[in-house]
Amino acid sequence: MINAVHISKHFGSIKAVDDCSLHIRKGEVICIIGPSGSGKSTLIRCLHGLEIPDSGELYVNGKKIDFTRDTTKELSHIGFVFQLFNLFPHKTVLENLTLGPIKAGGVPEKDAVETARKLLARVGLTDKENAYPAQLSGGQKQRVAIARALCQSPEVILFDEPTSALDPEMIGEVLNVMKELADDGMTLAVVTHEMGFARKVATRVIFVDNGKIVEEGTPDQIFDNPQSDRLKLFLSQVIHM
């Protein structure tokens, strides 16, 4: 579905992503873990053209993405959920959801609203459709952001640390929505620090350090039988008790 081949991205002299290859197949739930600053966010941002890779190739459904041109339309069927939500503060929840389908997708307003209401119900926020983002809690904002991504009828949704900016008691509600998506067969790729989620929901876990994919495998392989010293050290530091 999405196939990134030998992707690299530098910021000045820092190699954020260093020759990473990642193939996301239909139905997979991939969790990307690793220490802060390891390049995992940059990697997932490259998959949506939010960062333009310096080298390497990106294929979506077998088609090569040409980053010298505007890729917005081409990649609009890939959903993206940001760490800081990035909802549009001057638009209501419903407008946040329908803007893309109406303006970019050419969907009639009535149909877009109907779809948006269904998706709001799916994330449990039916009563908030006329609220503005500033009136919502962090967890609610992120659920709106997930519904907004779903409005693009995405083939895959990419998540960039979706729970890192949330208060602890709100993390669960967002992870639950994500788990339900996974259970429904949606393809997900999630950069996360939630090891419990990765272990329970992921079909594949990828460990990134210093811009490189160090190790990948099933949750059992990664969490119970890590091979590299770097991953063993990382796990010993993040998993307490």
Binding site: H48, G49, L50, D70, T72, K73, L75, S76, I78, G79, F80, F82, L84, N86, L87, F88, P89, H90, L99, G100, K103, A104, G105, R148, A149, C151, Q152
Partner: protein, 226 residues
């Protein structure tokens, strides 16, 4: 009859008020035209490509680096010379029209920076989110960025409008009908410049003070909705 009574006849007062109306009209038209230019130049400055960036930079630097009076004279006196040399086409420029265009071009260079800073003050994440839902850059600007930038633009934008009302007086030099020109005409007619100029002073102040008062009110209203 005193000088006051001789000069401030109903006909002359209407003549001056008409001049004030023109000043306001010139300022409004120049502000609108300048805003279009300013928005285009701001986008050019923020472009990833070099050519639009260079064009926008040259425009802003040339206009801001030369006197407005010179720009008005160049356009008014130089325009027909250039069209004659290039196209063998001679025309008599309309001072109000050419003057308004000159003031608009000048204003555009200043609003460029205004738009650019307001647009760049909107969080980068808003652009990114718009990109992920498939909006083009123009759509993003119109739907997402400009509505949020508007509040930040408003105070300096209204200030620019006040500057334009005052700057439109420079058009008196090319004989365009506007407030200062009207005062000048009456002054010459009655050999008394002081009274018409004082009238113009009061009229300018009424316009500018009212606009800044309105702006402060609007600003407070917008601040409440935050």
């Amino acid at each position: 009859m005193t000088a006051f009574e001789r000069i401030f006849t109903p006909t002359n007062i209407i003549f001056m008020l008409k001049g004030a109306g023109y000043s306001l009209l010139i300022a409004i038209c120049a502000l609108i035209g300048g805003s279009v230019l300013g928005l285009l130049a701001a986008m050019g400055k923020m472009s990833k490509r070099k050519i639009p960036r260079t064009i926008a930079n040259v425009y802003v630097e040339v206009i801001r680096g030369t006197p407005m009076m010179l720009q008005i004279l160049l356009l008014y006196l130089g325009g027909p010379v250039i069209t004659k040399a290039l196209f063998h086409f001679v025309y008599t420029p309309n001072p109000v029209l050419i003057g308004t265009i000159a003031v608009g071009i000048n204003s555009g260079a200043y609003t460029t920076e205004l738009f650019r800073s307001a647009i760049q003050s909107v969080d980068k994440g808003q652009w990114e989110a718009a990109q992920t839902i498939g909006l083009s850059r123009i759509q993003t600007l119109k739907e997402i960025i400009l509505p949020q930038a508007f509040k930040r633009i408003l105070p300096p934008y209204i200030n620019e409008f006040i500057v334009l009302i005052k700057d439109s007086s420079l058009l008196a030099s090319i004989g365009a009908v506007e407030l200062l020109h009207s005062a000048d005409v009456l002054g010459a007619k009655y050999y008394n410049y002081l009274l018409p100029l004082l009238f113009a002073t009061v009229a300018y102040l009424i316009m500018t003070l009212n606009i800044s008062h309105l702006a402060r009110k609007l600003e407070r209203r917008l601040a409440e909705s935050d």
